[in-house]
Symmetry: C2
Subunit: 302 residues, 2 copies
Amino acid sequence: MPKTIETVPNISEGRRKEVLQEILSAVASEPGGARVLDLSSDADHNRSVLTLAGEPEQVRRSVLRLFEIVLSRIDLRSHAGEHPRMGAVDVVPFIPVSGATMDECVQLAREVGDEVARRFSLPIYLYEEAATSEHRRNLADVRKGQFEGLGKKMQEARWKPDFGPTEPHPSAGATAIGAREFLIAFNVNLGTPKLEIAEKIARAIRHSGGGLRYCKAMGVALKERGLAQVSINMTNFRKTPLHRVVEMIRSEASRHGVEVVGSEIVGLVPNDALLAAADFYLRLESFDPTQVLENRLSNPGE
Amino acid sequence: MPKTIETVPNISEGRRKEVLQEILSAVASEPGGARVLDLSSDADHNRSVLTLAGEPEQVRRSVLRLFEIVLSRIDLRSHAGEHPRMGAVDVVPFIPVSGATMDECVQLAREVGDEVARRFSLPIYLYEEAATSEHRRNLADVRKGQFEGLGKKMQEARWKPDFGPTEPHPSAGATAIGAREFLIAFNVNLGTPKLEIAEKIARAIRHSGGGLRYCKAMGVALKERGLAQVSINMTNFRKTPLHRVVEMIRSEASRHGVEVVGSEIVGLVPNDALLAAADFYLRLESFDPTQVLENRLSNPGE
């Protein structure tokens, strides 16, 4: 299996279409770079999210090119938007998809952080799995004070950047670079129009309500279909897998006399997350991913 | 997604290790060829099965190289073994794995059959999905009479080869080339030592007993584990999927007060077969394979 890492850099521009097009073209045409899978922009937030994936070295190249082009086109001194931000390139998470480990993503975050800091004199904070201390793990804490408060924040010892100068880049602020698990957006539809049932189930299954460790959930009314939905963000599908969420919802729903009528994956999902569900439901004994024919083909070492 | 086709050529040699090694090396080192995934030999049958996979053109190249080396090393006039055979290269099935259709495999069988017949003056019969008439669909019928009876059989109009001369190759006989679905070997273990329950269930689910169209099954006693097993060959996982077999076994077993305690896939399985199980059990609505991140990466046209 080749090592596949995903990255979803968030940049502080969601309005100027020609600038976004220029950034997209530069990143997509970088020689030896990663594959660009998506660009989503939000004008209210004045923010865009790029989705890239490939082998670690491809991802590294594309991200460096992204910093280069963004720093020449985006100036935070004239930026306003609803979404909190502290950098022109605001956040860069690296995510293991297949064949790559979290440790490799942490390593990549450090290498890219170091290189970006040196090349562009940009302060870098490592966050989540790449964080160098507990208080820097949560992105919201790292970004608190935003671009405008960065100069003051950096003077505190506990907020000295991990790489780069101890004052903000004049136009690009600072960037949080980190490593985290793939986030799966997953919705489960219930055979009832009653929103309160979806809300009760969401509270039962989510971490904050005493439920599953890597599960966020809320109830949503699908008015056109006359159904209530449990809308879920799964922040670690390896430790809190899809089937466990579905089975817990099924069990809670049955207590209200309601059935699970369907589910949907929003956006992308790693193959591994679906294979784990097949493994569970088929009750496979000692299943080995190298039994999947396609995995055998893509492994150059075999 | 790249087009991936598998082929499992059966050759009439299972004893002479040095000859097998020579054949394996030649095929594995063919420039622009397919990936060799496996070579299994049986001395009693005096027969070996190679497993190769790759894009159609890669598979074509490797199979042509295989004929070249086998025809120079194996002489059926001095061959004996328990398994029926009519050719030095006895059977070559092409199998769609992912991104490729059965029609493309039928087309490949015809092209390779035509080219092999011309290059090596070897008679070729097309069988299964590639068969040119119903009576040639079943491999056992095509091979009936074996190498020794070929000369006489070919004189009958209904057994005139599809390509090549109407008399056998002196040392290599004739070859059956065809197209068929991937065969999954799948076992389901029951929470009982009673073989008769596994046998009853096998009869209920298999095609010959009135069960599922693309399912062969028999009961087996796993004496060491003290379990009975339903041992299954699935000849078309797209039309008779894994989950339907498991659910039918679960239902039949519960009638005997027995549970399904586990299952196992023997050898390789296409990724699609497992994704279909995840889709079913998670009750996904409108799931699209392009939502699988890895599929997006391997599609050059996107």
